[in-house]
Symmetry: C2
């Protein structure tokens, strides 16, 4: 009988992220307050929505496999060559290509224990080995520990989400540059900048060279998670390697058009950044009222300290019963926190009401 190969047969049947739709089906919820996936409820730029709406008349056409116009615009935005850019259907897609291209069986990939799990999903899926350093006690990524592991295991890839998810912490440009300069010669830094829209551009503008691939997305600040579009920035040499194996016609045409329009609407992005900052302040105030700690966040989400992992699980379950969907980090030292996305003002008020009620309930 036809059988999958030994690698695929060996992979356990797990799902890296259960989606809210499945939880809603399981719990019989028809609606939920959707604050679990760090989506941006401020939505996409109205200009992007209008461009996408108009493009529906051409949904019968494949998108441009080169994403030429979008790459032209991105090249201008970042001051890099078009040949340094590759557009994919989100960072998950690009991350898979990088693991596939730059590791072989049993190669080491260094990451942080409990950071964005899709990296490890790809590492398992392609048969390399994930080796993880824990977060520091303050919730920051331990750059020194990552570097030590990369040296010790002759890692092919070092994964750094910056700002990090789920901690929300940010390593400065200087720190990242020092990390890059200290990398072993054969190690490539996979720099996941999914949340970098919330950081001032001059604080994330790492120069491109053969030691780093930067990953960006339209899913977070640009509010287009459902569109599945992101891009990689690195040297033309590394882009060429990814070109050889990428899905040539993988990106939705409407997403291409929307991303191009979104990129031009800098005023809208700024309004999202500003409102997200106000939302973080609201969440800090909420934590103060509850008398609990947070971890200072550079992103559109925040961790709330529930004291123990068991209590964090109870809070999560109690919130879901009230129709509030959030998530929590899975590994220590962050597993006693819950993670909530910054919503609109109305969503933040509803979340605060629910969390305050749940804390009373869970304490009882």
């Amino acid at each position: 009988m036809a059988e999958p190969n030994a690698l695929v047969a060996s992979i356990p049947e797990t799902v890296p992220f259960v989606g809210p739709e499945q939880l809603m089906r399981e719990h019989g919820l028809r609606e939920c307050l959707r604050l679990g996936a760090n989506e941006s409820p401020f939505g996409a730029s109205p200009l992007a929505v209008a461009a996408m709406r108009d493009e529906l008349a051409r949904i019968w056409c494949y998108g441009d496999p080169q994403s030429h116009e979008l790459r032209e615009a991105l090249a201008r935005t970042h001051g890099v060559a078009m040949e340094s850019l590759l557009v994919g259907s989100g960072i998950d897609d690009l991350m898979g290509l990088i693991v596939r291209a730059f590791t072989a069986a049993d190669d080491a990939v260094v990451t942080t224990l409990g950071t964005y799990p899709t990296l490890e999903y790809h590492v398992v899926g392609y048969g390399s080995r994930a080796i993880a350093a824990p977060y520091r006690p303050d919730g920051r990524v331990d750059l020194d520990a990552l570097l030590d592991l990369a040296r010790k295991h002759e890692a092919k890839l070092l994964y750094l989400a910056n700002p990090d998810n789920p901690s929300g912490t940010f390593a400065t440009k200087d720190d990242v540059c020092r990390l890059i300069d200290a990398l072993p010669a054969a190690t490539l830094l996979m720099l996941d900048e999914a949340y970098a829209d919330f950081i001032a551009p001059h604080d994330v503008g790492i120069d491109l060279d053969d030691r780093v691939i930067r990953l960006r997305t339209f899913s977070k600040g640009y509010g287009m998670a459902g569109a599945r579009i992101g891009y990689a920035m690195t040297t033309p040499r590394h882009i060429s390697a990814l070109q050889k194996i990428r899905l040539q016609y993988g990106v939705n045409r409407i997403a291409q058009v929307g991303a191009l329009a979104a990129l031009r609407d800098t005023a809208f992005l700024q309004s999202v950044i500003d409102e997200t900052a106000r939302g973080r302040s609201d969440y800090e105030a909420l934590a103060s009222r509850l008398g609990i700690g947070t971890i200072p966040s550079s992103t559109n989400f925040m961790l709330f300290d529930c004291g123990t992992e068991e209590r964090a699980h109870r809070v999560l379950a109690a919130l879901l019963r009230r129709g509030v969907w959030i998530r929590k980090p899975g590994a220590p030292p962050l597993n006693r926190y819950i993670r909530a996305t910054v919503g609109t003002k109305a969503m933040r008020v509803a979340f605060a009401d629910a969390l305050e009620a749940v804390f009373v309930e869970v304490a009882a």
Copy 2:
């Protein structure tokens, strides 16, 4: 320095399909008559377009990674279990997953010489080996030759596009069932049914078992090529293998909603099928006027015999100079043909005018 692995380093930098946008940029064309990719210029169902337009308000949300509602609807349409269905971002995506899951290094994959090239792109990309049987002289896929190759090379996969692209020919359900019954025990049939919307459903309803994976798309009859959405049908056992490695959040949310609405609009699909049949008759009449042969097509495209490959190339180039973009098969015996998609009535008239003028020009 960080380097791609040996497999990726060994892959030549080729592009399986140059897109029309790139050709237009190279030739300074601002518009073209787009008949080269077998897209459906009849567009998507108006109900699907309306559903997609409405869903843009939720573009900030990731799609349901399970595509639950769409799979429910597809299960009803095809009379199969939901667990027999996997939704991906087009057949290209699913094809890549199948090659990745069901072959290992140097395994043989049997295909037809000159058929849909993305299959071979994936085979090269994952390090298996494509072994191809030529088309029969009449342009039909040589099922016996494919079977012989599968036996001889102990193939893990046998690829059959049915209806076939680029020939447009169709193997009957009986022929395909006979092929399946004769497959070597370890060979899986990858049945690419991209163009099956143009065939009566009872003529393509191969029963699902562990020997076959059927692939379908919303890119052709449903007119949603730009949306990138398709699905695989096989046993739950094989679906589980693909689940382990697929991009969980790879499908665009708007595409999911559009596909669901498109599936319900059976009247629109029928109108496309009917108009496509009229278009094929128009193309047959055009070929008669030109005094050239065609290959009877079961799809939304047709091959026109240019006599020699050199002449076919000249016709293609002359058409492009007139702003008409079509493609041609690359391998004998079909490489003396050009392939044109069935367009709207207006597009067919414009194509006929251009082709008649070009035939005069090329003959001169």
